[in-house]
């Protein structure tokens, strides 16, 4: 059986892509999606390690992450809607009243 290292590398790549997306993108929705991508990277790692070790913890953790991610997405999207109603944009560079 193949060791988990390949999966870990994959998870690392997914995580990194997500992280760069968060930093580089200006659209709040895409930033939110990038965060989801990071979480998926985490899930890959958990599931891979769990199944390699025959330990259910990894799988359970991944389920928890997915649940939480869903709740987070719901709240996040509602915040975005509220913002769009007020300002008609979700470009983060235009949402910088609070600073310094």
């Amino acid at each position: 059986m193949m060791g988990p290292s390949a999966y870990l590398i994959l998870s690392g790549i997914l995580f990194a892509i997500g992280a760069i997306g968060v930093v580089a993108r200006k659209n709040a929705l895409i930033i939110l999606m990038s965060v989801e991508l990071m979480l998926n990277g985490v899930n890959v790692a958990f599931v891979a390690v769990g199944s390699y070790m025959g330990d259910p913890t990894g799988g359970i953790f991944a389920f928890m992450v997915m649940t939480v991610a869903a709740a987070e997405a719901a709240v996040g999207l509602s915040i975005l809607i509220a913002i769009y109603r007020l300002k008609e944009t979700i470009d983060i560079t235009e949402l910088s009243v609070l600073k310094w």
């Binding site: 930093v23 580089a24 200006k26 930033i31 983060i92 949402l95 609070l98």
Partner: protein, 690 residues
């Protein structure tokens, strides 16, 4: 009664409780009765107290609550004074070695190996301090009743003043460094509140802020010293710390390096609180506060807290020769610098402020050469004559309807005879005229600066010159204020009057103390017994013993030998003082008056006479003016430009750094996320590839 008196030390806490009761009562009165007076929006006149308890407001019927405050505030302090006197009297009846009474009130912190109780310690050192604080404090409270009688915020003033007394007594009576720190912060806070008491004056509130900020620098040193003491001694109680010094020296924990670190940090704290170079800048500005405050806090009590701390820790200081040297040099330097800056001041209170800084320098010089007893002695006599001088200046300002510029005074002697005579006695005392209090204490310091193991002729010379300068500027003050022709505004001159009894009686009592206060410590060389030194001996001999154990070479500490040198030096310092007085007399009595008078009468004649004086002018230009110019230059360069620039510069730099730092907060989420990512990369990178 007898049984209560026989163990008066069980009532030590009353010394703190009385001022605290005053705080509570005056606080309630201020809150209930004075609130409407304090509302600028309600149109109540803040304009009618442009400072200094203007004597010419209308004569309204004094509200009952003000009478109550006028009774409570000094009364509480007097009660504390009585308890203090009784306690000290009982202390004198105890054998010399057993004169340390610790009264534990309640446990404060007891966890994690730290055990600190709220406890009071009465021993010879703290007994001197409480007598000075409550005694002089009481007189100043009485004086304030008269001085502040036209102040709308009467109860608030006494609320602060009593709070100050409570904190100051906590500082000197506490049995541990931690409690001292609590009092230390407390007096700082009160000082700040009282400097800014007339906060409508812009200068007053900035001065208050400056005092507080500069003091924080000092507190920082004190706090660190305290941590070091705690972790090396395992305790913060004075008695335990002193008891542990020998064993810790043997076990090699208490090295000279550690002692130097602790004592240097403590001294940083002392320079802040006691206004020594380089942290003295706040004290002259602190004169923005009401004059009784200057007398109480910025002359007699709070500013001496640093000296008290050094004396209290004398056993540690004796182990650190480097610190001792630093203390002595800083003390001597402050004495001469501040004295020379006093020469050119025009504001009567600022002269006294620089004089205070200079006198504090003497006290540190004494501590630095190992003569802690002499330092405390001077602390006491200084409290008498400087409180007298400040209160006298307050009386002058009161008479002058708020004028503080000495150039607009003159000839006040006739109008305010009591103020003049008492202030004159104070001036003689500070100038070191034989027989008065200042002579004995200052001379003791000068002699020890010369003869002690830590002293040197150089330190003596500096201190002696400073003494001459002191005599000069103090007599300049007297001559400008009380003698010569009147330079007052006509309007002001009409109202000049002697102050009420509540103000002059404290002056007279303090004048008496300025004369007799020194007789407690007449040195053996003059046939006295130096009772004061013997009284403090139990406190300071521990330090001498520890130092001997450290060096193991020096024989028994030098008790006063009847050295003929002592008389020579004594004569020299008196001569220097007289020389200073003579110059002041020439400059401000003989010389400047004549042209002014003649010019008044006949402008043309004035020119001629002026030319006649040309030789004198030259002489003055060559020598005297140089000295005054130098003083002004020193003040301008060193104080205003250099030190102030450093203080302000640091503040400005930090603040602009803050403005720059804030700018990284761009408001854009992406940048925030980038900062997080960068931080994460750094941390993980460091952990893996370190």
């Amino acid at each position: 009664m007898v049984s209560a008196l026989s163990n008066i030390h069980e009532y030590l806490w009353l010394i703190l409780a009385f001022p605290l009761a005053g705080v509570v009562l005056n606080g309630i009165i201020a809150l209930v009765a004075e609130r409407p007076l304090l509302l600028p929006a309600d149109g109540h006149g803040h304009d009618d107290h442009g400072g200094h308890g203007d004597a010419h407001g209308g004569h309204h019927e004094t509200p009952a609550y003000r009478k109550l405050v006028a009774f409570i505030a000094p009364g509480m302090i007097f009660a504390a004074f009585v308890v203090a006197v009784l306690s000290v009297l009982q202390l004198t009846r105890m054998p010399a070695e057993a004169r340390t009474v610790v009264q534990t009130l309640f446990p404060w912190i007891q966890a994690g190996g730290l055990s600190v109780s709220v406890a009071l310690q009465l021993d010879p050192l703290s007994s001197v301090m409480i007598l000075v604080v409550t005694g002089v404090g009481f007189l100043i409270h009485v004086y304030s009743v008269g001085y502040m009688s036209h102040e709308p915020a009467f109860a608030r003033f006494f609320f602060y003043l009593n709070l100050f007394m409570f904190s100051m007594l906590t500082l000197v009576l506490g049995s541990s460094y931690l409690l001292m720190f609590v009092g230390w912060e407390g007096v700082g806070l009160c000082s700040y509140l009282l400097i800014g008491f007339w906060y409508e004056k812009d200068s007053a509130s900035t001065a208050g802020k400056k005092a507080f900020v500069v003091n924080r620098v000092g507190d920082f040193g004190f706090l660190l010293a305290m941590f070091l003491v705690f972790w090396n001694f395992g305790t913060l109680n004075y008695t335990d710390v002193m008891a542990k010094i020998p064993s810790l020296q043997h076990s090699g924990i208490l090295t000279t390096g550690l002692a130097t670190a602790i004592t240097l940090l403590m001294f940083v704290g002392a320079t802040g609180k006691s206004a020594q170079i380089p942290l003295y800048v706040w004290l002259p500005d602190a004169m923005e506060g009401p004059t009784p405050v200057s007398a109480l806090i910025h002359a007699a009590t709070m500013v001496t807290a640093g000296v008290y701390m050094v004396a209290r820790s004398n056993a540690l200081f004796m182990l650190a020769p480097f610190t001792m040297g630093t203390v002595a040099v800083i003390g001597a330097a402050t004495a001469i610098f501040a004295a020379s800056m006093g020469i050119c001041q025009k504001d009567i209170k600022r002269v006294l402020a620089y004089s205070t800084v200079s006198q504090l320098g003497y006290m540190f010089l004494a501590c630095g050469v190992g003569a802690f007893g002499a330092g405390i002695f001077h602390l006491m006599t200084h409290a008498f004559f400087k409180a007298l001088l400040f209160l006298g200046s307050g009386s002058v300002i009161h008479a002058m309807s708020g004028e503080q510029d000495m150039m607009k005074m003159g000839s006040l002697r006739k109008h305010t005879p009591i103020t003049f005579w008492t202030m004159f006695i104070g001036t003689l005392a500070i100038a070191g005229i034989p027989g008065l209090a200042g002579f004995f204490s200052k001379d003791e310091i000068l002699w020890r600066a010369f003869s002690s193991d830590h002293g040197s002729p150089f330190l003596w010379a500096v201190a002696a010159v400073a003494a001459g300068t002191t005599a000069f500027y103090m007599f300049r003050l007297i001559f400008l204020t009380f003698f010569g022709a009147s330079r007052m505004d006509k309007e002001v001159e009409k109202h000049v009057h002697e102050s009420p009894f509540s103000m002059t009686i404290p002056l007279m009592v303090l004048a008496a103390l300025s004369i007799c206060g020194g007789w407690l410590g007449i040195p053996a060389a003059l046939g006295g017994s130096n009772y004061f030194e013997k009284w403090l001996e139990p406190i300071f001999e521990g330090g001498h013993k520890a130092a001997e154990a450290a060096t193991e070479a020096i024989g028994h500490g030098a008790m006063a030998h009847h050295d003929p040198m002592e008389f020579i030096l004594m004569g020299a310092s008196v001569a220097v003082a007289l020389f200073g007085i003579a110059i002041a007399y020439y400059l401000y009595m003989v010389r400047p008056e004549k042209p002014a008078k003649i010019a008044e009468g006949n402008p043309n004649l004035y020119r001629l006479v002026y030319n006649k004086y040309f030789v004198d002018e030259l002489y003055e230009w060559l020598i005297i003016r140089r000295i005054v110019d130098w003083s002004i230059w020193l003040w301008q360069m060193f104080d205003v430009q250099f030190i102030d620039a450093i203080v302000n510069g640091v503040a400005k730099t930090v603040r602009s750094a803050g403005d720059e730092t804030r700018k990284i907060q761009t408001g854009v989420v992406g940048n925030y996320a980038f900062s997080i990512l960068l931080g994460a990369v750094f941390i993980v990178g460091y952990l893996i590839w370190r």
